[in-house]
């Protein structure tokens, strides 16, 4: 397999199908904005739950973009070609997830300073937030891919995807929010950040293979 060739195809697909990246981002900003508008302005309370709010919105945004992760390839038959002929189908899945992460996790990380300000987080917490997002979002994409793979066979798998995937996201939410909270309280956030990195590594070793198996099962039901 020629990995750079496979990667360049995914990248081209991302550029040609910009809506798949822009729509979740629009949702992200809308959700953050609504939170900012709806929260009381009088006190500084938002800093206390801003971290949890940020992560919650990021989880939902990721879920929105996961639904389309394998959908197109499933419908047009590319997926059955990959699974029937490729020597290492999980590499194709891994590349697909990597590009999805570039369009969600990495983009959110880069936009994090803006999101933090909108959510009323103090500026000291911005760097930790970015680090937490950078370390935690790969786990969201990798674990989410497993759910996306298992629900791709259903034409309306959206709600099922949420029910499958959101519980898996729980540890990322816990440690991600706690990292930001530690930073808000001027405390050392190394421990939750290390946990986030650990979860992402674990997801990297399990996710692609599990997603490939999930896709196989989805194709069996055809």
């Amino acid at each position: 397999m020629n990995l750079t060739g496979l990667l360049s195809r995914e990248w081209r697909a991302l550029v040609r199908n910009r809506g798949a990246v822009l729509n979740p981002m629009a949702f992200l900003f809308l959700a953050v904005m609504l939170f900012a508008v709806g929260s009381p302005v009088s006190d500084n309370e938002t800093a206390r739950y801003g971290g949890a709010m940020l992560w919650l919105i990021v989880l939902l945004t990721n879920m929105l973009s996961l639904d389309s992760l394998f959908r197109r390839d499933f419908d047009n038959g590319v997926l059955e070609q990959v699974l029937s002929t490729a020597q290492a189908p999980f590499m194709v899945v891994l590349i697909r997830v990597l590009v999805q992460w570039l369009g969600t996790g990495l983009l959110i990380t880069l936009l994090a300073p803006l999101l933090c300000l909108l959510l009323g987080l103090p500026s000291e917490a911005i760097f930790t937030s970015m680090l937490a997002l950078l370390l935690g979002t790969p786990a969201l994409s990798l674990l989410g891919a497993v759910g996306a793979a298992m629900t791709v066979g259903f034409s309306r798998g959206g709600i099922l995807l949420g029910l499958l995937v959101l519980p898996l996201f729980l540890p990322v939410l816990v440690f991600g929010a706690s990292a930001i909270n530690q930073a808000v309280l001027h405390m050392d956030a190394t421990a939750p950040l290390a946990w986030l990195a650990f979860i992402s590594m674990l997801a990297l070793s399990v996710g692609p293979l599990a997603a490939t198996l999930g896709l196989k099962i989805s194709l069996q039901l055809q």
């Binding site: 195809r9 199908n17 197109r72 038959g77 590319v78 699974l83 029937s84």
Partner: protein
């Protein structure tokens, strides 16, 4: 190489057809016939490793599977799709080979349009270009005549004949007889009364 021995596909624990046995040598072209719902598609998917409910055994090496769904990404041009299949197989296709294959299926003029703009028949032709570039020796084709015009059907016959002459094996599920010399027919028969 393509061998089936007493192969039976199951769907929801129901046996789809009577046990099939087949031994295909290089150069064989086999037409898979049977009424609608007999299990032709399921058999081909089983051989391609996409359906795991079966009894019996089969051996099918270096195959290419063409199902109802084309396997072309609609966001890519035919050329990009063909190149991607090359990447998947691990062969670097040079421009000359791509141009020749796309010219052979008379798609040179649409080679740089996105596949979503192509008609079903045109997409089928792009699929045929993919078969030409593939190194697989066994072609598993499901209803290859679908949505092809008269020229396209003629072209398909030529390509299949060429592939068999070169020592490849073709197994095609079809209702329209293939016009290939020395083609055999494998009839799928419904499972008998004694089938469990």
């Amino acid at each position: 190489m393509l061998n089936l021995s007493d192969l039976v596909c199951r769907r929801d624990e129901r046996q789809l057809f009577a046990p099939l046995s087949l031994h295909a040598e290089a150069g064989d072209c086999i037409e898979l016939r049977g009424p609608n719902g007999a299990g032709k598609t399921t058999l081909l998917r089983t051989l391609a490793g996409l359906h795991s409910q079966f009894d019996g055994a089969f051996a099918c090496a270096e195959f290419l599977f063409q199902g109802h769904r084309m396997g072309l990404d609609e966001l890519m041009t035919p050329i990009e799709n063909l190149r991607w299949y090359g990447d998947l197989e691990g062969v670097r296709l040079d421009d000359a080979a791509l141009r020749e294959a796309i010219g052979r299926v008379a798609m040179a003029r649409a080679a740089f349009n996105l596949c979503q703009r192509l008609s079903q028949g045109q997409q089928r032709r792009v699929c045929m270009a993919r078969w030409l570039l593939s190194s697989a020796s066994t072609w598993l084709l499901d209803e290859p005549y679908t949505s092809l015009d008269a020229d396209g059907q003629q072209l398909l016959n030529e390509l299949l004949q060429l592939h068999c002459d070169k020592g490849g094996i073709v197994l095609a599920a079809t209702h329209t007889p293939l016009r290939i010399s020395n083609s055999r027919v494998l009839e799928i028969e419904p499972a008998g009364e004694d089938a469990r």
